[in-house]
């Protein structure tokens, strides 16, 4: 990246802007005032203990979850607004935001009645009205890039978890999103399959894709993150570069969390 590009990026508005988000499920406050800006090309990795609200937060960005207060803006378009008590969500804005955001789920959520190729082809054809031939070509290219050239005609249940998740990533990329959201993309995988998925995510990060990644893979986080965001009990506890967060965190709870996740696997 050239310095002029970097400067342009620094001055441009954030691609994703989360402001003052609160959310309560029943009686339980799950998010308690979260602000987060993600600029184009940035890789933001969200970590934190289970139940701290990471999934809820990431799902709000593409309006799979609603907010109680605050505002979410994607590429300059407000998609959810609850700043003055009333919740407003504009269907057209939500659709636009979803077109710009690819989402990868913990449990893959591939379409079981379609082959890998059809999973990747169908959304661009049906949603973006891409001609079939073009969509097929794009899907084949993406699946090849994911190392799945020989799996294109298999149904999801014929694929391993790692292969399924790579198809899911290809499916999201086929919509040509401006940013990708990953919610614990490797948590449902057998340990020996985690690496192959992390590899394609790393490649994606290196290609300049804007990404918000929720993960428990700390070594991976340290490698790809421009910024680490530590969540705890519905708040952002602290954030900073991997060096700062992993070497000299400001909060005792961050240290505690990092000790707990890193020691069993990597010490």
């Amino acid at each position: 990246m050239t310095t002029t590009e970097q400067r342009a990026k620094a001055t441009s508005q954030p691609l994703i802007r989360v402001e003052g988000i609160h959310r309560t499920f029943g009686e339980i406050p799950v998010l308690r005032g979260v602000d987060l800006d993600v600029t184009e090309g940035e890789v933001a990795v969200v970590i934190g203990p289970s139940g701290s609200g990471k999934t809820t937060l990431i799902r709000m960005i593409n309006a799979l979850e609603t907010i109680d207060s605050g505002r979410i803006t994607v590429d300059g378009t407000i998609i959810q607004d609850a700043t003055n008590g009333r919740h407003r969500m504009n269907a057209k804005a939500v659709r636009l935001a979803r077109l710009e955001l690819g989402m990868v789920f913990q449990r893959f959520n591939l379409f079981p009645h379609l082959t890998a190729l059809e999973n990747v082809m169908m959304p661009p054809v049906r949603v973006r009205k891409v001609p079939k031939d073009e969509a097929r070509e794009r899907a084949l290219r993406l699946l090849t890039r994911m190392g799945l050239a020989d799996r294109v005609n298999n149904r999801p249940h014929e694929l391993s978890g790692g292969q399924q998740q790579r198809v899911a990533i290809a499916r999201a990329l086929a919509m040509e999103p401006k940013a990708m959201l990953f919610d614990e993309a490797t948590s449902a995988l057998d340990p020996e399959l985690v690496g192959e998925v992390l590899k394609v995510m790393r490649d994606l990060a290196e290609s300049g894709m804007t990404m918000i990644i929720v993960t428990h893979e700390m070594r991976f986080a340290a490698q790809v993150a421009d910024r680490i965001i530590v969540m705890d009990q519905g708040r952002i506890l602290e954030q900073g570069t991997p060096e700062v967060i992993f070497n000299k965190p400001s909060h005792a709870r961050t240290e505690e969390f990092l000790r707990a996740v890193i020691s069993p696997a990597e010490a």
């Binding site: 959520n109 079981p112 959304p123 949603v127 249940h157």
Partner: protein, 238 residues
Amino acid sequence: MTLDLTKEWLPRLLEGMKYTVAITIGAFILALLLGLVIAVMRLDRRRWYLYVPATIYVEVLRGTPLILQLFFAYFALPAMGIQLSPLTAAILGLGANTSAYLSEIFRGAIRTVDQGQWEASAALAMDWPTMMRSVILPQAMRIALPPTGNYAVSLFKDSALASTVSVAELLFTGQVIGSETFRYMEIYALIGLLYLAVSYPTSLLLRRLETHLELSRPRSRKKPSVPAPVEAEKEPVS
């Protein structure tokens, strides 16, 4: 008897069978379309303006006798200025009735589609009709297919009720022949065989289809092909 049977009765009965089949096919197509619409209308209670009328429709049709519904279509609608031919009235009555039951099957099948499928489609910016058509319904229909087939067989048998609104279908034709010849025993036995000749092979076919779908369904645990040993059951469980 053989002479009467082949020369006279059978051609007339087969003529009646044509109507039976026509009623079945017509009513079934109507039931599929209405059933799907009603099922979709009842998916979301918050859309009460769809949910409430669809629910009333289902409860009325399931809570009243089918024969009453047929009489209503044929005898009562003319009082409102709607004159239907016997065949149309039968197709309408049977189709509407079956649609109420099919809608419940469809709704149940749609509900069994994993929540993650709705979310993945939404995240891919699909609008509701696209989501339904490309993701949810193709999966739901696989689940709904066997019970839907069974309703087709039921409908085929229930089409005999059309005789009460004077459609010259199989049973009606048999009754006419019976009243001419008084050989009710033979004629009704023959009609029974004719119904069976269609419904039994269809049921067998459906069962095979069901097994096929069961085996080709993702995540379905295959039953062991060898029955589990039974000796263990003889032992008292301590």
